[in-house]
């Protein structure tokens, strides 16, 4: 099933000169997403860190066609692209909507749910850095319980992260998958697969963010790996309702080894106020979810 690294194309679509922060997990993932999709693609993106990555007029470091849109409208913009391309006979473009967790879990949910219900033919990628990073690390509904943000500065966020994967699964999509910046090959494989499926395909991409989460810029990959190895992030794909664990999550399931969440939490400034009780409760949630996934994957 795995693709050897040599098969990943050398051609780069994210060129030097992006305006993202040092150590940005999004930039890393985006390189592999675009490699998988190839040049015959049009990306539509709202206000978020990806807009910044795409650069400032008149220069862009991203070598695929892109259309910027407003915060709430990524999936509607993708729907318009799909309709417009079809109506004008430009049939071989892959349409991709890509937005942050704020632009997906919160404001974009209406347009995304609408497009998914219509089974509009496009790939939607939500990259999740667990807060509104573009506007300065304010909490979103994707922020985990216990995290400090600039709008939960003294008392950390009190509510658990919205279970968006369950919401998207309820739309009965032909394909949905999770990825993490730390595993580029997994990203490449899943996007390559999604590209050849019709209907609304949803990718949830976990993206570590050094300034937002409070870790050194050289630790992005490490944090991403620990997120997966602790089970905070589980790599899987669901095709026609059937869940399959992939990559590191699959090997972990087989070996039965999972690291304690504390190892993930203690590396990040945003969790510094978590009490031992909160950490224990966090661990319990992660374990329960992990068991569920194992059952669903029949492991």
């Amino acid at each position: 099933m795995s693709v050897p690294f040599v098969e990943i194309p050398d051609r780069e679509y994210v060129l030097p000169g992006t305006r993202t922060c040092a150590g940005c997990g999004l930039t890393l993932a985006y390189r592999y997403i675009l490699k998988a999709l190839g040049p015959k693609v049009i990306i539509t993106l709202p206000a978020c860190c990806l807009t910044i990555l795409h650069g400032i007029y008149p220069k862009t470091p991203v070598a695929v066609n892109a259309l910027n849109t407003t915060f709430a409208s990524t999936a509607a913009s993708a729907s318009g692209l799909v309709a417009g391309l079809k109506a004008t006979g430009q049939n071989d473009y892959v349409v991709v909507g890509m937005a942050g967790d704020g632009g997906t879990f919160d404001m974009g949910i209406q347009a995304l749910s609408g497009a998914a219900e219509r089974q509009t033919d496009f790939i939607y990628i939500c990259y999740d850095n667990e807060a509104y990073m573009n506007t300065g690390v304010q909490r979103s509904s994707a922020t985990p319980e216990g995290a400090i943000t600039t709008t939960t500065p003294v008392e950390p966020k009190q509510q658990p992260k919205k279970d968006f994967l369950a919401i998207m699964e309820a739309h009965k999509l032909p394909y949905m998958a999770t990825c993490c910046s730390a595993y580029p090959r997994d990203i490449y494989e899943k996007l390559s697969k999604a590209k050849n499926i019709r209907g609304t395909r949803f990718i949830h991409l976990y993206v570590p963010c050094p300034p937002g989460w409070g870790f050194p810029t050289n630790k992005t990959v490490e944090i991403g790996r620990i997120a997966v190895e602790t089970g905070v992030v589980v790599l899987f794909e669901i095709e026609d309702g059937k869940l399959r664990l992939t990559g590191r999550s699959l090997t972990m399931a087989r070996s039965g080894r999972k690291r304690p969440v504390d190892e993930y939490l203690k590396l990040q400034g945003r969790f510094k106020k978590m009490t031992p009780e909160q950490i224990a409760s966090f661990q319990k949630d992660v374990d329960e979810r992990w068991e569920q996934y194992l059952r669903r994957a029949e492991i």
Binding site: Y57, P58, K59, V62, S73, S77, G80
Partner: protein, 419 residues
């Protein structure tokens, strides 16, 4: 109602259909061979997408019909479809239009040639489904061209003209007409042949096409100062891009009038002025109106003229770009301009009165003693010709000018009625 007997010279009677404003708008879109339709229902617009859905499902119109989940998405779909080259269409009203507000700015800024009928309706709260023009007039500054139609014939004609203008100046166009009064009222409408419309409106030519080898980033972030590109030359900043938009508006009136003239050559109905004039040649006073109110005012003028009052009507058809010079010219020499409008800019007066005063002043005359601002017909309140006769009488008997006058208030005082 006057004004809908604008018969084309020599055309056959079979070409007439007895249809509502909404059917006229949908038919107009079909004749324009729109390629993408996105719409979300709101009274009194709902019939437009319904009719278009039928056209598409019967195979009479080859278009992608996107049944979106909100107005914000409806306009987004049109913007994106338009950017990749399709002729896109949507329609809305009132709270739907307000919900689109962010996308209205985005569409104009992205310079996409969308045409969108707006069936004018009062804005909540409190809820009303009935007519006034508060919805579209409060979107005045979004960068859209705005047409206001007197009758269903004008609705059909302005959808067709709208695309020609929009695709020439690269600005979106609102075709506004009164909810229920036109949207749901049947009238004879002369329907042009598809061949003539095709001649008038050739297939859309997008300004660029997508090329995977030379990709572009559309509508990116821009800065506040001119920025050097990779070629070292300076590229526009936000303000210069905005200035181009204003320039496009400044040039749009001429293109609108040319489009209206050419329309006349092909279809027999000429729109070569930004307003409809009725009995203005010898007039000392006029009603200045927009939309279907213009035909009510024509009736009122007929009645008033029988009493010896030399009054006429100027029905403004083009509100954005505002035809300031043309309007100042046509109003010059008059003694009284009675602006009657189904809208109010809260805290001041009716929007058209403000605009007209500025226009007159800019072109040399003091508007002070000239203009009365009247609020009428909010939220579906009927405006009959006799109301306009009453307004005229009040003006001739020195109604105050310092504040906007409410015809409603003068006729029946609400407070008194409830006490």
């Amino acid at each position: 109602m006057k004004g809908y007997f604008l018969r084309a010279r020599g055309e056959k009677v079979e070409q007439y259909q007895i249809i509502t404003g909404n059917q006229a708008a949908a038919l107009g879109a079909k004749l324009c061979r729109v390629q993408v339709v996105a719409a979300y229902p709101i009274t009194p617009q709902s019939k437009i997408p319904e009719v278009l859905a039928e056209y598409v499902e019967r195979g009479e119109l080859k278009a992608e019909f996107v049944r979106v989940e909100s107005e914000h998405s409806a306009l987004t779909v049109c913007i994106s479809a338009s950017i990749v080259g399709a002729r896109a269409f949507t329609a809305t009203a009132a709270n739907g239009l307000a919900y689109m507000h962010e996308q209205l700015h985005w569409a104009a800024g992205a310079r996409v040639p969308i045409v969108m009928p707006v069936t004018n309706r009062g804005l909540g709260a409190p809820w009303t489904i009935l007519n006034d023009m508060q919805d579209s007039l409060s979107q005045r500054d979004t960068g859209w061209i705005q047409f206001y139609c007197i009758n269903n014939q004008e609705v059909l004609d302005h959808v067709i003209m709208g695309y020609r203008v929009a695709e020439t100046v690269h600005l979106p166009v609102m075709v506004c007409y009164d909810g229920f009064r036109l949207s749901h009222t049947v009238m004879p409408v002369n329907v042009p042949s598809q061949e003539l419309v095709d001649q008038y409106l050739p297939p859309k030519k997008p300004p660029y096409s997508l090329d995977p080898e030379n990709p572009i980033n559309i509508n990116p972030v821009v800065m506040g100062e001119l920025i050097p590109g990779v070629d070292g030359k300076l590229w526009p900043d936000y303000m210069s891009i905005r200035r181009r938009m204003q320039k496009a508006h400044e040039g749009a009136l001429e293109i609108i009038l040319q489009a209206g003239k050419y329309f006349g050559e092909l279809f027999g109905r000429t729109y070569d002025t930004p307003f409809t004039k009725y009995k203005t040649e010898d007039a000392s006073a006029v009603f200045l109106t927009m939309g279907s109110l213009t035909s009510e005012a024509m009736e009122a003028v007929d009645a008033l003229r029988k009493e010896g009052i030399r009054i006429g009507v100027i029905g403004l058809r083009v509100f954005r770009p505002f035809p300031a010079k043309e309007l100042a010219e046509v109003l010059s020499g008059l003694e009284k301009v009675i602006v009657v409008e189904k809208a109010i800019s809260y805290g001041y007066e009716t929007p058209l009165a403000t605009e007209t005063k500025a226009a007159i002043y800019s072109f040399g005359t003091s508007p002070y003693s000239l203009i009365w601002s009247w609020v009428v017909g909010l939220g579906g309140k009927d405006v009959k010709p006799r109301d306009l006769v009453g307004i005229c009488n009040a003006v001739f008997h020195n109604a105050p000018r310092e504040r906007p006058l409410w015809w409603h208030e003068e006729e029946y005082t609400y407070e008194r009625a409830v006490c």
